[in-house]
Protein backbone atom coordinates (compact mmCIF):
# COMPACT_ATOMS: atom_id res chain seq x y z
CA UNK A 1 0.00 0.00 0.00
CA UNK A 2 1.12 3.55 -0.70
CA UNK A 3 -0.83 5.25 2.02
CA UNK A 4 -3.74 4.81 4.42
CA UNK A 5 -6.86 6.84 4.86
CA UNK A 6 -9.57 6.94 7.47
CA UNK A 7 -13.09 7.85 6.47
CA UNK A 8 -15.79 8.93 8.86
CA UNK A 9 -19.51 8.56 9.14
CA UNK A 10 -19.89 12.28 9.83
CA UNK A 11 -18.08 15.54 9.14
CA UNK A 12 -18.00 16.19 12.87
CA UNK A 13 -16.19 12.90 13.35
CA UNK A 14 -13.61 13.83 10.74
CA UNK A 15 -12.91 17.19 12.36
CA UNK A 16 -12.82 15.68 15.83
CA UNK A 17 -10.39 13.00 14.67
CA UNK A 18 -7.97 15.65 13.44
CA UNK A 19 -7.85 17.07 16.96
CA UNK A 20 -7.29 13.58 18.33
CA UNK A 21 -4.42 12.98 15.89
CA UNK A 22 -2.83 16.40 16.35
CA UNK A 23 0.70 15.72 17.59
CA UNK A 24 0.33 11.97 17.12
CA UNK A 25 1.59 11.86 13.56
CA UNK A 26 1.58 13.83 10.34
CA UNK A 27 -1.76 13.63 8.54
CA UNK A 28 -3.38 15.30 5.55
CA UNK A 29 -6.99 16.21 5.03
CA UNK A 30 -8.34 15.06 1.68
CA UNK A 31 -11.66 14.39 -0.01
CA UNK A 32 -12.96 10.86 0.29
CA UNK A 33 -11.85 9.04 -2.84
CA UNK A 34 -14.57 8.48 -5.41
CA UNK A 35 -13.63 4.83 -5.44
CA UNK A 36 -14.79 4.62 -1.83
CA UNK A 37 -17.84 6.85 -1.81
CA UNK A 38 -19.71 8.96 -4.31
CA UNK A 39 -20.66 11.34 -1.52
CA UNK A 40 -18.78 14.39 -0.36
CA UNK A 41 -16.74 13.66 2.70
CA UNK A 42 -13.56 14.38 4.62
CA UNK A 43 -10.88 11.74 4.90
CA UNK A 44 -7.61 11.75 6.78
CA UNK A 45 -4.52 10.47 5.00
CA UNK A 46 -1.39 9.20 6.69
CA UNK A 47 1.68 7.08 6.00
CA UNK A 48 1.45 3.29 6.53
CA UNK A 49 4.10 3.45 9.24
CA UNK A 50 1.78 5.65 11.31
CA UNK A 51 -1.05 3.12 11.22
CA UNK A 52 -0.44 1.82 14.72
CA UNK A 53 -0.35 5.28 16.26
CA UNK A 54 -3.46 6.42 14.40
CA UNK A 55 -5.42 3.30 15.26
CA UNK A 56 -4.46 3.52 18.92
CA UNK A 57 -5.30 7.21 19.19
CA UNK A 58 -8.71 6.81 17.57
CA UNK A 59 -9.48 3.73 19.64
CA UNK A 60 -8.69 5.68 22.80
CA UNK A 61 -10.91 8.58 21.75
CA UNK A 62 -14.62 9.03 22.22
CA UNK A 63 -15.24 8.04 18.61
CA UNK A 64 -17.03 4.71 18.36
CA UNK A 65 -15.38 2.11 16.10
CA UNK A 66 -18.37 2.14 13.75
CA UNK A 67 -17.87 5.87 13.18
CA UNK A 68 -14.69 5.45 11.13
CA UNK A 69 -13.09 3.03 8.70
CA UNK A 70 -9.59 2.34 7.45
CA UNK A 71 -8.60 1.91 3.82
CA UNK A 72 -5.33 0.97 2.20
CA UNK A 73 -4.65 2.88 -1.01
CA UNK A 74 -2.28 1.78 -3.76
CA UNK A 75 -1.51 3.45 -7.06
CA UNK A 76 -3.10 6.52 -8.58
CA UNK A 77 -5.33 7.48 -11.46
CA UNK A 78 -6.49 4.47 -13.44
CA UNK A 79 -4.36 2.11 -11.37
CA UNK A 80 -5.71 3.29 -8.02
CA UNK A 81 -6.92 0.51 -5.73
CA UNK A 82 -8.53 0.78 -2.34
CA UNK A 83 -9.16 -1.90 0.22
CA UNK A 84 -10.92 -1.63 3.54
CA UNK A 85 -9.18 -3.25 6.44
CA UNK A 86 -9.21 -3.47 10.21
CA UNK A 87 -5.92 -2.40 11.80
Amino acid sequence: MDYCIVTFSSTYGAIFAQKVLDGVCSVQVMPVLREISAGCGIAVRFAPESLGAVASALAASSLAPEEYAFYAVTGAGTTLRTEAFLP
Binding site: T11, A14, Q28, M30
Partner: protein, 198 residues
Protein backbone atom coordinates in the same frame (compact mmCIF):
# COMPACT_ATOMS: atom_id res chain seq x y z
CA UNK B 1 6.62 26.78 -45.91
CA UNK B 2 5.47 29.13 -43.14
CA UNK B 3 1.75 29.59 -42.86
CA UNK B 4 -0.36 32.40 -41.42
CA UNK B 5 -2.81 32.08 -38.54
CA UNK B 6 -5.27 34.92 -38.23
CA UNK B 7 -6.11 35.37 -34.54
CA UNK B 8 -7.09 39.02 -34.74
CA UNK B 9 -10.13 39.75 -32.63
CA UNK B 10 -9.70 36.49 -30.71
CA UNK B 11 -9.67 36.70 -26.92
CA UNK B 12 -7.34 34.68 -24.74
CA UNK B 13 -6.82 31.76 -24.80
CA UNK B 14 -7.78 31.32 -28.44
CA UNK B 15 -4.54 32.73 -29.95
CA UNK B 16 -2.46 30.39 -27.81
CA UNK B 17 -4.75 27.49 -28.60
CA UNK B 18 -4.36 28.16 -32.32
CA UNK B 19 -0.58 28.45 -32.02
CA UNK B 20 -0.43 25.27 -29.95
CA UNK B 21 -2.38 23.56 -32.68
CA UNK B 22 0.25 24.51 -35.24
CA UNK B 23 3.01 23.34 -32.91
CA UNK B 24 1.22 20.05 -32.31
CA UNK B 25 0.92 19.63 -36.06
CA UNK B 26 4.69 19.85 -36.25
CA UNK B 27 5.03 23.24 -37.90
CA UNK B 28 8.66 24.39 -37.98
CA UNK B 29 7.65 27.93 -38.76
CA UNK B 30 4.44 29.88 -38.81
CA UNK B 31 3.13 33.38 -38.29
CA UNK B 32 0.22 34.32 -36.10
CA UNK B 33 -1.44 37.72 -36.17
CA UNK B 34 -3.09 39.18 -33.07
CA UNK B 35 -4.38 42.59 -32.09
CA UNK B 36 -3.61 42.87 -28.38
CA UNK B 37 -0.49 42.93 -26.23
CA UNK B 38 -1.78 40.29 -23.82
CA UNK B 39 -1.84 37.80 -26.66
CA UNK B 40 1.68 38.87 -27.62
CA UNK B 41 2.89 38.21 -24.07
CA UNK B 42 1.15 34.85 -23.94
CA UNK B 43 2.51 33.77 -27.29
CA UNK B 44 5.99 34.94 -26.36
CA UNK B 45 5.90 32.65 -23.35
CA UNK B 46 4.51 29.85 -25.44
CA UNK B 47 7.32 30.18 -27.97
CA UNK B 48 9.96 30.06 -25.27
CA UNK B 49 8.39 27.06 -23.58
CA UNK B 50 8.01 25.11 -26.81
CA UNK B 51 11.46 25.67 -28.30
CA UNK B 52 10.60 28.33 -30.86
CA UNK B 53 12.37 31.56 -31.65
CA UNK B 54 10.07 34.52 -32.03
CA UNK B 55 10.13 37.77 -33.99
CA UNK B 56 7.40 40.31 -33.38
CA UNK B 57 6.38 42.88 -35.97
CA UNK B 58 3.83 45.58 -35.21
CA UNK B 59 1.96 47.70 -37.67
CA UNK B 60 -1.16 49.73 -37.04
CA UNK B 61 -2.04 47.88 -33.84
CA UNK B 62 -1.68 44.49 -35.47
CA UNK B 63 1.10 42.24 -34.21
CA UNK B 64 2.59 39.57 -36.44
CA UNK B 65 4.53 36.96 -34.49
CA UNK B 66 6.90 34.79 -36.50
CA UNK B 67 7.50 31.43 -34.83
CA UNK B 68 10.57 29.43 -35.89
CA UNK B 69 11.55 26.19 -34.22
CA UNK B 70 14.96 26.26 -32.50
CA UNK B 71 14.56 23.37 -30.08
CA UNK B 72 15.77 25.46 -27.17
CA UNK B 73 13.18 25.38 -24.42
CA UNK B 74 13.25 28.26 -21.95
CA UNK B 75 11.57 27.59 -18.64
CA UNK B 76 9.86 30.50 -16.88
CA UNK B 77 11.75 32.05 -14.00
CA UNK B 78 9.77 31.89 -10.78
CA UNK B 79 11.90 34.70 -9.39
CA UNK B 80 10.64 37.09 -12.04
CA UNK B 81 6.89 37.06 -11.57
CA UNK B 82 6.28 40.26 -13.50
CA UNK B 83 7.34 38.53 -16.70
CA UNK B 84 5.80 35.12 -16.16
CA UNK B 85 2.12 35.68 -16.71
CA UNK B 86 0.74 32.95 -18.88
CA UNK B 87 -2.53 34.72 -19.53
CA UNK B 88 -4.11 31.42 -20.37
CA UNK B 89 -5.60 28.67 -18.39
CA UNK B 90 -6.88 30.12 -15.16
CA UNK B 91 -5.88 31.78 -11.93
CA UNK B 92 -7.01 30.89 -8.41
CA UNK B 93 -7.48 33.86 -6.10
CA UNK B 94 -7.45 33.04 -2.38
CA UNK B 95 -8.64 35.92 -0.20
CA UNK B 96 -9.33 34.00 2.98
CA UNK B 97 -7.82 31.13 4.91
CA UNK B 98 -11.01 29.10 4.90
CA UNK B 99 -13.19 27.99 2.01
CA UNK B 100 -16.68 29.39 2.12
CA UNK B 101 -18.46 31.20 4.93
CA UNK B 102 -19.57 29.36 8.03
CA UNK B 103 -17.88 27.08 10.51
CA UNK B 104 -14.15 27.78 10.65
CA UNK B 105 -13.02 24.19 11.22
CA UNK B 106 -15.12 23.01 8.30
CA UNK B 107 -13.82 25.84 6.11
CA UNK B 108 -10.22 24.94 6.98
CA UNK B 109 -10.88 21.34 5.96
CA UNK B 110 -12.55 22.39 2.74
CA UNK B 111 -9.62 24.62 1.79
CA UNK B 112 -7.12 21.82 2.40
CA UNK B 113 -9.29 19.37 0.46
CA UNK B 114 -9.55 21.84 -2.43
CA UNK B 115 -5.79 22.21 -2.69
CA UNK B 116 -5.23 18.48 -2.19
CA UNK B 117 -7.50 17.92 -5.18
CA UNK B 118 -5.95 20.75 -7.17
CA UNK B 119 -2.41 19.48 -6.61
CA UNK B 120 -3.49 16.07 -7.88
CA UNK B 121 -5.41 17.46 -10.83
CA UNK B 122 -4.33 17.26 -14.48
CA UNK B 123 -5.75 20.72 -15.18
CA UNK B 124 -3.51 23.04 -13.20
CA UNK B 125 -3.92 26.80 -12.87
CA UNK B 126 -1.31 29.15 -14.26
CA UNK B 127 -1.07 30.87 -10.92
CA UNK B 128 -2.43 30.93 -7.38
CA UNK B 129 -2.77 34.35 -5.78
CA UNK B 130 -3.00 34.90 -2.02
CA UNK B 131 -4.45 38.05 -0.48
CA UNK B 132 -5.63 39.19 2.95
CA UNK B 133 -6.32 36.22 5.29
CA UNK B 134 -5.28 33.92 2.45
CA UNK B 135 -1.59 34.70 3.11
CA UNK B 136 -1.83 32.64 6.29
CA UNK B 137 -1.99 29.51 4.14
CA UNK B 138 1.48 29.59 2.52
CA UNK B 139 2.97 30.67 5.84
CA UNK B 140 1.28 28.88 8.72
CA UNK B 141 -0.52 25.82 7.32
CA UNK B 142 1.77 22.80 6.95
CA UNK B 143 -0.57 20.84 4.68
CA UNK B 144 -1.20 23.83 2.45
CA UNK B 145 2.53 24.48 2.14
CA UNK B 146 2.99 20.89 1.00
CA UNK B 147 0.32 21.22 -1.69
CA UNK B 148 1.63 24.59 -2.81
CA UNK B 149 5.16 23.22 -3.10
CA UNK B 150 3.78 20.43 -5.27
CA UNK B 151 1.96 22.93 -7.47
CA UNK B 152 5.03 25.15 -7.70
CA UNK B 153 7.08 22.14 -8.70
CA UNK B 154 4.68 21.59 -11.57
CA UNK B 155 5.14 25.13 -12.83
CA UNK B 156 2.25 26.87 -11.11
CA UNK B 157 3.19 30.37 -10.07
CA UNK B 158 2.44 31.20 -6.43
CA UNK B 159 2.15 34.92 -5.65
CA UNK B 160 1.58 36.22 -2.14
CA UNK B 161 0.54 39.77 -1.30
CA UNK B 162 3.42 41.48 0.48
CA UNK B 163 1.20 44.14 2.03
CA UNK B 164 -0.93 41.41 3.58
CA UNK B 165 2.08 39.50 4.88
CA UNK B 166 3.32 42.69 6.48
CA UNK B 167 -0.08 43.45 8.01
CA UNK B 168 -0.27 40.06 9.68
CA UNK B 169 3.40 40.08 10.71
CA UNK B 170 4.12 37.10 8.49
CA UNK B 171 6.73 38.63 6.17
CA UNK B 172 9.49 36.42 7.54
CA UNK B 173 7.39 33.27 7.55
CA UNK B 174 6.59 32.78 3.87
CA UNK B 175 7.44 29.15 3.09
CA UNK B 176 6.39 28.88 -0.54
CA UNK B 177 5.74 31.36 -3.32
CA UNK B 178 6.92 34.82 -4.20
CA UNK B 179 6.16 38.03 -2.32
CA UNK B 180 4.22 40.14 -4.75
CA UNK B 181 2.22 43.30 -5.10
CA UNK B 182 -1.16 44.40 -6.38
CA UNK B 183 0.21 45.33 -9.80
CA UNK B 184 1.48 41.82 -10.39
CA UNK B 185 -1.60 40.19 -8.89
CA UNK B 186 -3.89 42.32 -11.02
CA UNK B 187 -1.89 41.55 -14.15
CA UNK B 188 -2.21 37.82 -13.48
CA UNK B 189 -5.96 38.16 -13.09
CA UNK B 190 -6.27 40.29 -16.22
CA UNK B 191 -4.14 37.91 -18.19
CA UNK B 192 -5.94 34.74 -17.19
CA UNK B 193 -8.70 33.13 -19.17
CA UNK B 194 -10.71 32.96 -15.97
CA UNK B 195 -10.22 33.59 -12.28
CA UNK B 196 -11.58 31.24 -9.64
CA UNK B 197 -12.08 33.18 -6.41
CA UNK B 198 -12.14 31.24 -3.16
Amino acid sequence: MSHLIDAKGKACPIPVVLAKGAITDGADAFTIEVDNTTAVENLTRLAASQGYGLAVRESGGIFALDFARTGAVVKPQASAPAETCTGCGYAVLVGRDTLGAGDRALGTNLMRMFFYSLANSCDLPACVLFLNDGVKLPTLDDQMVEHLNALSGKGVEILVCGTCLNFYGLSEQLRVGTVSNMFDILSRMQGSGKVITL
